[in-house]
C-alpha cells in the first residue's frame, strides 16, 4: 500500500494552506481533491475580506492559493475519497484509485449548500433553481428572481445578481440578516433588491421552467405567491462528511469537533476549515485552521517517530518524563543521568512539557515520572519525587 506522511483531504483554502505549512515544515504532503483546487471560492465572483487583497474574484484567489501550494511542491491528486479506515490505530484513506496509509490526516472537505427541501426544488434544478450565482447568473438577464437565505453569502450574491436580473427578492425566514454591515448596506441601498422577511418557501412551481414561488409567512401563516424565473438557494450549509460518518466526534448535522490544535477525537486525525464546528466560516478562518492543523500534524508525526525510535524499538529502556520549564525537575533529570552513568541501564530523557500527548498516552498524571518499556510495551510507570526513588525504580 502507498504510505505517506501527511494526507490532506480537500484542496479548498483550508487544505491548500495546510499543504503550504506542511511542506514548509518538511513533511511529505499529498493533497486529494475531487473537484478543482480552491473549493467553494470557485463559485463566487467577489472576495473583499481576504487580508491584503482588497478585491479579487474567487477563481483568481483559488488560482493563487493553488500556485502557492505548488510552489512548495505539494503533490496534488485528482481523486474522490470514499472512506477512511481507522482500525488498529492505522489511518487508511480509501479512494477509487487505491488506498493510502497516512501518518496523519487532515480533513478539509468543507461544506455544501443545503437543499431547501421544498417541492419542485429537485425537478427545477438547472431550469431556474440554482446554487451558484457565477455559474448561472447570466441566464437571468432582465428577469425577476429570488435569493433564499440571510447570511453573508445570500446577501452578497444577491447584490452580484443585480448585474443581470432586473429585480432580486431576498426571502429570509428571520426578521434580520446575519451578515456583515457592509454587505447589508450594499444590499439595502440597491434599488433592484427587495426583501421579504419572516418567510419560507413552500413550493417552487412552474410548467417546464420555474414560474413562481409559493411563500409562507412564518409569523402569520399567510400564503402568497411570487412570480420569478429563477431562485438561488443560499440557506444554510451541510458539512461534506458522508465519507466518514461517525468516525470522529461531531455535532449537529456532522460538523467535526476539534480542539484549538484542530485535533479531532481520533489521534492523528485533524480537521480544518468549514467542515469544523466553528463560529465563522470564511476563507481567512479556513486558512488559519489549515495552518494550525498542519503544524499540529507535523508535531504529531515527529512525536510518533520519537516514541518509535526511543521507546519502542530498544529491548529495555526507561524514560524520565519531566517538564523542561521546571528547574528542579530539569536538575533531577541530569542527576539521574549522572547516577546511571557507567551502569548498563538505558535511560531516555523526555520533555513532557513539549510532548503533552506522550504524557497522556503513558497515563502519567504528574510530572516528573519514570516509565519502563520492555520490547516495545510499557511495563510500569511511577511519579518520581527524588533521586533515591528514581534509582530504586530503575534497579
Amino acid at each position: 500500500m502507498e504510505k505517506r506522511e501527511l494526507v490532506i483531504i480537500g484542496a479548498g483554502p483550508a487544505g491548500l494552506t495546510s499543504a503550504i505549512y506542511g511542506k514548509r515544515s518538511g513533511l511529505d504532503v499529498l493533497l486529494l481533491e475531487k473537484g478543482i483546487p480552491g473549493g467553494q471560492i470557485n463559485v463566487t465572483d467577489e472576495i473583499e475580506n481576504w487580508t491584503g487583497v482588497i478585491h479579487a474574484s474567487g477563481a483568481e484567489l483559488a488560482d493563487s492559493f493553488r500556485k502557492h501550494a505548488e510552489h512548495f511542491k505539494a503533490e496534488f491528486r485528482d481523486v474522490e475519497v470514499r472512506s477512511i479506515d481507522l482500525s488498529n490505530g492505522r489511518k487508511i484513506v480509501k479512494t477509487d484509485s487505491g488506498d493510502i496509509e497516512a501518518e496523519a490526516v487532515i480533513i478539509a472537505t468543507g461544506a455544501s449548500f443545503k437543499k431547501l427541501g421544498a417541492p419542485g426544488e429537485g425537478e427545477f434544478t438547472g431550469r431556474g433553481v440554482s446554487y451558484c450565482a457565477v455559474c448561472d447568473g447570466a441566464f437571468f438577464e432582465d428577469q425577476e428572481i429570488a435569493v433564499i437565505g440571510g447570511g453573508n453569502t445570500a446577501v452578497e450574491e444577491a447584490v452580484y445578481l443585480t448585474q443581470f436580473a432586473s429585480k432580486v427578492t431576498i426571502i429570509h425566514r428571520r426578521d434580520s440578516f446575519r451578515a456583515d454591515r457592509v454587505a447589508i448596506e450594499r444590499a439595502m441601498s440597491n434599488p433592484r433588491i427587495d426583501v421579504i422577511w419572516n418567510t419560507v418557501v413552500e413550493e417552487i412551481a412552474g410548467e417546464d421552467m420555474v414560474e413562481k414561488l409559493v411563500l409562507k409567512n412564518v409569523r402569520t401563516g399567510d400564503i402568497t405567491e411570487l412570480p420569478v424565473t429563477g431562485v438561488f438557494v443560499f440557506a444554510g450549509m451541510d458539512p461534506n462528511v458522508s465519507f466518514m460518518k461517525g468516525l470522529v466526534d461531531s455535532v449537529g448535522g456532522g460538523w467535526i469537533v476539534t480542539n484549538e490544535r484542530m485535533e479531532t477525537s481520533v489521534e492523528g486525525v485533524f480537521a480544518a476549515g468549514d467542515v469544523r464546528d466553528k463560529y465563522l466560516r470564511q476563507v481567512i478562518t479556513a486558512a488559519g485552521d489549515g495552518a494550525t492543523a498542519a503544524m499540529a500534524a507535523s508535531a504529531y508525526i515527529s512525536e510518533q517517530l520519537h516514541i518509535q525510535g526511543l521507546l519502542l524499538e530498544p529491548e529495555h529502556v526507561t524514560a524520565f518524563v519531566f517538564s523542561s520549564i521546571d528547574e528542579p525537575q530539569a536538575r533531577l533529570a541530569s542527576d539521574i543521568e549522572k547516577a546511571l552513568a557507567g551502569t548498563d541501564a538505558r535511560l531516555v530523557l523526555l520533555d513532557g512539557y513539549r510532548n503533552k500527548r506522550i504524557v497522556e498516552k503513558l497515563g502519567i498524571k504528574e510530572l516528573p515520572a519514570l516509565a519502563e518499556f520492555k520490547k516495545g510495551d510499557l511495563s510500569r510507570q511511577q511519579h518520581i519525587a527524588s533521586l533515591d526513588e528514581a534509582v530504586k525504580f530503575i534497579s
Binding site: I36, D45, A59, S112, G126, S130, C132, D136, F139
Partner: protein, 105 residues
C-alpha cells in the same frame, strides 16, 4: 468531444445516428470545469457507441434557453433526436453521468 453551436446543433445532435450526450458548461462554472476531464475520459470509453458533445452556454445563450436549460452543469441525453434524460447541478456527478451514458449505449 464535438463543440456545438447554433449552426451544427441540428446536424450533430438532432440528426445523429448515435445517441448523444450534450455537456452544457460555462467558463465561470467551477463545477463544470471540474467535471470536464472525467467526461472526456468517458467519451473515449464509449467511442463509437455514444457521441459526446459540449456546448458553451456563455457563447450560445439563445440556443441553450431554447433547450429549456437555465443552469449549469447540465447534461442532456438524446436518442433519435429526442431528449430522453437529463442531469443538473449537484446530481451531475461522474457516477450518475456514466450510468446514464450506459443506458443510452
Amino acid at each position: 468531444m464535438i463543440e456545438l453551436n447554433k449552426d451544427n446543433f441540428e446536424e450533430e445532435v438532432l440528426k445523429s445516428d448515435l445517441p448523444v450526450l450534450v455537456d452544457l458548461w460555462g467558463p465561470k462554472c467551477g463545477p463544470c470545469l471540474a467535471l470536464m476531464p472525467q467526461v472526456e475520459d468517458l467519451s473515449h470509453e464509449f467511442e463509437g457507441k455514444v457521441k459526446f458533445c459540449k456546448l458553451n452556454v456563455a457563447e450560445n445563450r439563445k440556443l441553450v434557453i431554447s433547450l429549456r436549460v437555465m443552469g449549469v452543469p447540465t447534461f442532456l441525453f438524446y436518442k433519435g433526436g429526442e431528449i430522453v434524460d437529463r442531469l443538473s447541478g449537484a446530481e451531475a456527478v461522474p457516477d450518475a453521468i456514466k450510468a446514464k451514458v450506459r443506458d443510452l449505449a
